[in-house]
């Protein structure tokens, strides 16, 4: 173990990384060049941290009905609850502390976004690769299916799916995956079609490697850059789609509110002056989506070979 590691370290001259940086380092360097993207990344990490730490920092568990009291309802920001803690962002129509609601809501939003993004990317990329590699009838069928899927408005499809599947985080994720896989399939197929004709693929094939190995070990890594960009954009989209579904009343249950449910609950009070019930969760949702999009935009610039200096 140490025998192999030591000579490797010894033979690498200390100056080498500066001259010949690794692709990853170059990627990091060009990413941080954009201050806005860096800000977005910092904000996103902060939001993730807050969401993970929610049970530790939230003054109330908003999912525990016994700890929420209707007598605390519609309190303005800064009011003190019946249990004695200060509700810095006020409370909603059933007495839920909004700060706690938002922190827990972020957990759901991020989880929904991440899971549906990763699942849709995996499924979509696999289908896209199969279409590009096999060609012929398989490709035609898959790509017409993709066209069909992309021609339908995603909110509508998700609405119908969730209405059929029922309420719950898992069902929302399933619906979002079914709405979003087509974007990945289309993109990966485009890249894979180009890659398939390249010499390294022919080399792999003439070495007698299996189809699966050729596709997943050789073609796939070369198609990943655009997928990473779409994952960020689609994650943001998934989060807002979940909020939309919850706002329309088909997403998550009332007693386990996501940001969309919190916004919907406050909508009724907008005209009557209790602005905070909708505005604060809306702001949290906005910040989450903006931060992801800032990161996604920069990733697109960095990973796009055509924009390279």
């Amino acid at each position: 173990m140490s025998d192999t590691a030591l000579p490797a370290a010894a033979t690498t001259p200390p100056a080498a990384p500066a001259k010949e940086e690794t692709p990853f380092r170059r990627f990091v360097r060009s990413f941080v060049e954009d201050r806005l993207a860096l800000f977005g990344l910092a904000l996103f990490l902060l939001i993730v941290l807050l969401a993970i730490a929610a049970p530790l920092i939230a003054p109330q568990n908003p999912y525990d009905l016994a700890s929420v009291d209707v007598m605390d309802s519609r309190q303005p920001p800064g009011a003190v609850s019946g249990e004695g803690f200060t509700m810095w962002l006020g409370s909603d129509g059933v007495g839920r502390d909004l700060l706690s609601g938002i922190l827990y809501g972020l957990r759901i939003s991020l989880m929904v976004g991440a899971f549906s993004g990763i699942l849709a990317a995996t499924i979509g990329a696999a289908i896209g690769l199969i279409a590009a590699y096999n060609g012929g009838r398989t490709e035609t069928i898959i790509m017409r299916l993709v066209d069909l899927q992309l021609s339908l408005p995603s909110v509508l499809v998700a609405l119908i799916l969730v209405a059929a599947l029922g309420k719950g985080v898992d069902k929302i994720i399933i619906a979002l995956v079914m709405v979003q896989w087509a974007y990945y399939a289309r993109t990966v197929r485009g890249s894979a079609l180009v890659e398939r004709r390249k010499e390294y693929v022919e080399a792999a094939q003439s070495l007698g490697l299996s189809h699966a190995r050729t596709v997943f070990r050789h073609i796939l890594p070369n198609c990943l850059a655009p997928v990473i960009v779409i994952v960020t954009v689609q994650t943001a989209h998934a989060i807002s789609l979940e909020a939309t579904l919850s706002f329309l009343g088909v997403g998550l249950p009332q007693t386990e509110p996501s940001l969309g449910v919190l916004i919907a609950n406050g909508f009724q009070y907008m005209l009557s002056g209790s602005y905070w019930i909708s505005v604060f969760p809306g702001f949290a949702l906005l910040m989450t989506i903006v931060s992801i999009n800032l990161v996604g935009d920069r990733l697109r610039d960095v990973l796009n070979p055509r924009l390279e200096k």
Partner: protein, 533 residues
């Protein structure tokens, strides 16, 4: 060719005639009335669907024999008077000189035709048959009708106040043709049907020859705007003159607006929880460890504990924003057939915990509550608040809310063998007749659809003492005695916690200054009750 030219000539004449009429309408445009409704109608056919929005709109065009005033007290309408000749026969004297919209005179034949049509409309989601069946209608002369029943039936006039009389000519008109305005004879009402766009609007024009006098509005447009904030915004923007069902969160603000009037009155609608009384093992109730347990709701002490754990003043104050009244029975005090002894159950968490322990559930159990969304004022918030209160009692409570249409089908017949599916539900009931027999019969009488009993008894509550008292009341013709018997039946069922009432809604209307709305207990928004100040 000939017909074509005559038609052309007619059209020209019409245009010439219409020009001055339009100018007059233009001058009088201030007299147009625009009303925002909170629910959609399902048809313009007055007998298709027994549901408040339909009945309310039909009332403008097709008048019933017997009317109901703003407090739902009966008053003469197409029948000038009525009396019981003996225990099982009623005689109605019809108003003379009344004409339908096209000038056809109204007679007893129209009444007989209506009674044939009303209970038999195809595909009716909720039929008027309960009000007509078991009654034999005979024409004595052109302006006298007799109603014969098998048993004493004191509620015949009330029953006949629920649906409108159509002309005999339209007795075979289909629901679709009513929607298209093909019953051109029209009704006898103060307004005529001018336009109906499903899910969007209904336009009415005044009946110039109405027997009750001419209406002050040149045109009345009902717009169906189901989203409450949108309705309020449309009133504030001046697009509407009147809105119904003002959301509770906006009442205080609208009352403070100098450019608006707000009118409200107590409603005949009670919001209540119905529970599973008929299954040994209820599908949405489990032990704390998730195991199957015997349905605890069969135990009176558990039901009492649940009722006691609900903080009714808290719900009224914090969720309904004081636009409601805590409920102790099925109709507010003062309505016919209500008890003076029943008061809202007082909130007592410790007392409730004690009762639950005595019943053998010191550690509570798990229960899932179900309710509709956007059916009643603040419905999802109420169910969530009650879930909080039950959680404090030690019952692990979950909440599932469903879109109304879906909810009501499943709540009535979603279970195995078309029985009610859920264990504990939030629902509401408006007493269409304005007295308590309607509510008791529908919600608490032992389920027996053939006899029209317990039609909406979604908990399948069944209590022999109560049933006997109710049947006795329904056969008592003397008003004072019937009132007392109904009150007694109410007391039996409430003390047995057949269901758990929480509050009575207030019906609230808002209108721009210069327009005054008469608040009604039955939630109806009638143009005939809207006047200039």
């Amino acid at each position: 060719m000939k017909t074509f030219s005559t038609n052309g000539l007619k059209a020209l004449k019409l245009a010439i005639l219409a020009a001055p009429v339009m100018t007059i309408a233009g001058l009088a445009s201030a007299q147009e009335l625009k009303i925002g409704l909170s629910a959609e109608l399902s048809a313009m056919d007055p007998h298709y669907h027994n549901v408040s929005p339909n009945n309310m709109l039909a009332r403008h065009i097709y008048e019933p024999l017997v009317g109901q005033d703003e407090k739902q007290t009966l008053k003469p309408l197409l029948a000038e008077s009525w009396k019981a000749i003996d225990d099982t026969t009623w005689e109605f004297k019809l108003r003379q000189g009344v004409k339908f919209h096209d000038g056809t005179p109204f007679t007893a034949d129209d009444v007989i035709a209506t009674m044939q049509r009303a209970p038999n409309v195809p595909k009716s989601p909720s039929s008027f048959s309960a009000y007509v069946r078991g009654k034999e209608f005979t024409k004595v002369d052109d302006f006298t009708v007799r109603v014969k029943t098998a048993a004493p039936a004191p509620l015949v006039p009330t029953d006949l106040s629920t649906f409108g009389i159509i002309p005999a000519k339209c007795k075979d008109t289909t629901t679709e043709d009513f929607n298209l305005g093909k019953c051109t004879t029209g009704g006898t009402g103060a307004y005529k049907q001018a336009e109906y766009v499903a899910g969007d609007r209904v336009v009415l024009t005044p009946n110039e020859n109405y027997w009750g006098g001419k209406e002050p509005w040149s045109k009345v447009t009902f717009r169906m705007i189901t989203s409450a904030p949108t309705r309020v915004a449309a009133l504030l923007a001046g697009d509407l003159d009147v809105i119904e069902n003002v959301p509770t969160s906006d009442v205080a603000r609208l009352k403070g607006d100098a450019k608006l009037n707000v009118a409200s009155t107590v409603s005949n609608r009670v919001i209540y929880f119905h529970m599973d009384h008929f299954r040994e093992v209820s599908p949405f109730i489990k032990g704390k460890d998730g195991s199957e347990i015997k349905n605890p709701l069969l135990n009176l002490k558990v039901r009492q504990a649940l009722s006691m754990a609900i903080n009714r003043p808290g719900i009224v104050d914090r969720i309904m924003e004081k636009e409601a009244i805590p409920a102790g029975q099925l109709l507010p005090d003062g309505f016919f057939g209500t008890s003076k002894k029943l008061k809202p159950v007082a909130f007592d968490l410790n007392g409730a915990k004690k009762l639950l322990a005595e019943a053998g559930y010191p550690n509570g159990f798990k229960m899932k509550l179900h309710g509709p969304t956007n059916r009643y004022l603040n419905d999802t918030k109420i169910i969530e608040a009650v879930a909080q209160m039950f959680s404090r009692l030690g019952i692990e409570t979950e909440v599932e809310t469903l879109p109304s249409a879906n909810f009501f089908t499943r709540a009535s017949q979603g279970g195995q063998g078309n029985v009610p599916e859920f264990s504990f539900i939030l629902v509401g009931w408006g007493a269409g007749t304005g007295e308590s027999s309607d509510s008791l019969k529908a919600l608490l009488a032992t389920f027996d659809p053939a006899k029209g009993m317990g039609a909406t008894n979604r908990g399948r509550y069944s209590n022999k003492t109560f049933d006997a008292k109710l049947v006795e009341a329904l056969r008592t013709v003397d008003d004072a005695k019937r009132d007392a018997a109904l009150a007694e039946a109410m007391e039996i069922s409430m003390n047995d916690v057949g269901l758990i009432p929480t509050h009575y809604q207030l019906n609230t209307w808002a209108s721009r200054k210069g327009v005054k709305v008469q608040a009604r207990t039955d939630e109806y928004t009638l143009a005939t009750g809207i006047r200039k100040e």
